[in-house]
Symmetry: C2
Subunit: 628 residues, 2 copies
Amino acid sequence: MTKKPLIIVTFYPKKRKIKLEKDISILNAAMEANIGIRTECGGKGICGKCKIIVKGKKAVSELTESEKTHLSREEIATGYRLACQTFPKKSVEILIPEESRVSARKILKFGLESEIPLNPLVRKFHFKLKKPSLCSIEPDYERLLQALSTFSNIKDVKIDYTILEQLPDILRNAEWDVTVTVWNNRKIISVEPYDTSKILFGFAIDIGTSKIVGYLVDLNNGKTISTASIENPQIMYGSDIITRIAYASENRDNLHSLQKIVVDGINKVLAQTCAQAKVNPFNIYESTVVGNTTMHHLFLGIQPKHTATSPYVPAVKSTINAVAREIGVKMNPSGIISTLPIVAGFVGGDAVGDVLATEFHELKKTSMLIDIGTNTEVFVGNADDILSCSCASGPAFEGARVTHGVKAEIGAIERVRIGSNFDVEYETIGKTGPVGLCGSAMIDIVAEMFKHGVIDSGGRFNFQIRTPRLKISNRQAEFVVAWKNETTLKKEITITQKDIREIQLAKAAIYAGCSVLMKRKNVKEKDLNRIFIAGAFGNYINPKNAKLIGLVPDVPTEKIKFVGNTAIIGAKMALISKEARETAEALSRKIRYIELAIDSEFEKEFINAMQIPHKDLRKFPSVKGYLH
Amino acid sequence: MTKKPLIIVTFYPKKRKIKLEKDISILNAAMEANIGIRTECGGKGICGKCKIIVKGKKAVSELTESEKTHLSREEIATGYRLACQTFPKKSVEILIPEESRVSARKILKFGLESEIPLNPLVRKFHFKLKKPSLCSIEPDYERLLQALSTFSNIKDVKIDYTILEQLPDILRNAEWDVTVTVWNNRKIISVEPYDTSKILFGFAIDIGTSKIVGYLVDLNNGKTISTASIENPQIMYGSDIITRIAYASENRDNLHSLQKIVVDGINKVLAQTCAQAKVNPFNIYESTVVGNTTMHHLFLGIQPKHTATSPYVPAVKSTINAVAREIGVKMNPSGIISTLPIVAGFVGGDAVGDVLATEFHELKKTSMLIDIGTNTEVFVGNADDILSCSCASGPAFEGARVTHGVKAEIGAIERVRIGSNFDVEYETIGKTGPVGLCGSAMIDIVAEMFKHGVIDSGGRFNFQIRTPRLKISNRQAEFVVAWKNETTLKKEITITQKDIREIQLAKAAIYAGCSVLMKRKNVKEKDLNRIFIAGAFGNYINPKNAKLIGLVPDVPTEKIKFVGNTAIIGAKMALISKEARETAEALSRKIRYIELAIDSEFEKEFINAMQIPHKDLRKFPSVKGYLH
């Protein structure tokens, strides 16, 4: 036997060389070497997606019939081939053009820099079926399965039976030329006439206690094409989750009302994003949902009452995949709604989304992640181990329960600085006239007032100072941030003594959570490599001020990073990536949880944290300079 | 190494000996030798079902703790052991008591004598979960899966998400002592408080063009505990399937009406069987459905119009498993409705049921099976190959379109004999006064009238004969079967010239189907080992008379066997046996189909078969003696 001469294939643009030891196609060689080349048919010469450019015709096998069909004359002249149809005869150089690169299909995550490959669970396949005849009487569905399997290599697939209803008409009206949408290689969820493969959307949802946010995503490129948000309409049943759980516990009707109302809210957000982007909701085939455990349970109509009493056990932890029409979400009725898995009674899919989006689970060095919301989740750890807890911080930073509080929307004051003579400088979102204060502004105001002695470490106004901004109105002490004539609504924007109290309560709950976790993990401030602050309460947070009011542990300012609404980024990642979803499932099992409600030290920590920045000033050495 | 001495275990009552070559439990030894011993936990000592009686304590291992829990003191004294806990030390005799025998759990099929093992797809498991605590915070669903897997060895199971809604309350209200219903080892469809394992029902449905029949079956023993039937309410949209298909083709609303009305009909039958047997419909966890292809499509809401035009292709062939609440059948809302697979455009799941119930697919010798209904399916073949067709025979034999036709119910005349002097003797179902004529009586009447010269071979009345029974009334010639004073309703029961015509049309369609199939299979009358006649048109058929009118081929009378409603027996078999369901799936692929609508000889055959018994008397040698 003569030994086969060694062939080396070099792939450009990355110039990766691989040795071929057997007679295999360029596509298979690339696959074995984990070099990404697009393919939909798995190498059968059917889809025509695995185009490559070969340097040197003679180094490879002859053009096949399939290539003559899929490549234009110009392409053939340029050296284009299909990777699955091309077998190297000797060493050769291959350029993978942009269009065929799988790495080229990566997307950038919001806020953070890491990339994930685009690999959504829903995929569309466009192909033609052989028309039935008296010699070929295979029924429609079996005919479709056969064609799908030939075209995509997908076998053992089921169908949402409601699609069968119109299948005969769809196939015939489209003259057997259809696009099939498959979920997770397992279930046919749509059959549409002609080629609709470019029309493939997903919807990521973050159900916050106070706010519902939705991202409409084009699953063909992973881009978010529109976003919208509304107040969570469940608020009419209570602004905090404990009140809503109490209401849901009373009877099944209440539970169903809470479910219905949140689904209605989601439908509003969905309709709004669709209208903005001119997308038919029918073309949303999958939706991923994050939310804290209570929001998760209420969305699925699951009784949450037992999460509120010891031992605080949720009904279910792992991913739930439900059919859209069963939940009532007005997307494709056969589409799939997947809830991200949860961690525990008060750490939900939103927290899993936070970790996913920040890649917290891959950090080598110990860090902290705080997702500030009506419920604030805190994580401490690194790739080895993550400990989490949830603090009932209340909705102050999201604009509720604060006199002039607003959401982080156009007109919201987002940055505040107090100058000499107690002048106030501020910036608004959208650079318009101010309408109120969003979360980041509240942090700034309290910090600035504290720095300038307007309030003391107990949060009380200091009436020794002389400024018309500090006054009593309707028997309430308040500090004027924007005068009447500056504002859009021609009403003063102030911060009252009661508002400061609300902010203190919120920051104390959050800091106490951080503190308990650090103790349990035996981590000191100096051990924290990063503090990520997540949340939908603004576009920006002043890390110095966050430390100054004692919201977060006192670490060097450059270590504090504001990462935005990572919960919905996590939901979006799950939407566009099967791998992200698997990671989420692993995270839900891996992240450990501490129940603050039964933690012996939480209350003491909370009380100490009510002071600005903290009762124990040794914890905030960098803040000392501002103290009076 | 010393060689292990050879151990022989003899199992009674069947006295089967097996040699043990390794150290394994009696249960595993029996499993390997394919000797059935009940077990639910798969040999973990948890379920306590694998009780055996050991002859000679010393031949086996010591009693384990698990056995002390599951066996009473009396049982232990008698020699009872659990097979999974018992390891033989030397040769031993084992009696498998009735309660532990899997073979003892077989059931007898209706009509036919063969047995099938009881192995429904739905199974119940009763067990207790460990109560959660602060040291064990696994969520409810994951806790349930863990316990189910420990108890039953069932893993990778999904859950109908609607069950999660009340799961937390159910578990806690029942103090973690629950019964879980699992479908096909794949999906949890119910979680109920405490032990409900004895309450497990299934429902078999036959949707005929004219009649809906339901059997309520106890899935713990495979027994039918009540039955009911009603007229198919779709009849108001046309008595034949072509009219209904035309109606459904007009628009989606029509299609949905037809679906809704048949589901309503099924719900009536279901409610009736439940009321009779005092069973809560909630405890019906699975339903199997048979029907011809049109009924099948309309039940699932699938557009059937394309089955009516060339190339007569159905929408789907294989088994559809749908969730009850989605279809609207009022059983357990999470229960599963499985349609038996179909063969082709006009040979449906009912035909697969016929073959299954008669074990036609296992016959060594070539035979024929005719399921008479509004659509009549005919099969010719044996274990090697089965050819089928469907004839539009009309509803005459089911009582419709015949002046005094009734269904086979109490008061229906089911047998008729005409004596000398044209006296009429008849028998009714339930031995009550007569109310009308069912299918078997119509066969008898036409045959008897023909034998006695009341009608000629064209089906025309012979007014030469002298009897007051033959008369003209309302310009219609008729023959009196029962005089006014004999009947329950005090109205004459007659058979008119038009009625005879209807019966001729029906029998001609059926015979023509038989004839075409025989030609295609190249089978003569002498080659037919058996003719099975199935149908819901009576309890009995007179085979001589069936031949005499030319309904079936002329074979020796003893070869004709009436087997009743085999379609629903097939549905019931699928309900109680996973294996039967697999066989059904294989049959749907195996049975070949001939489309009579495009068969070149069908029309000629049909016209020739209009005569009594047939235009070509050489085909009916045994009938010659009756000819005038």
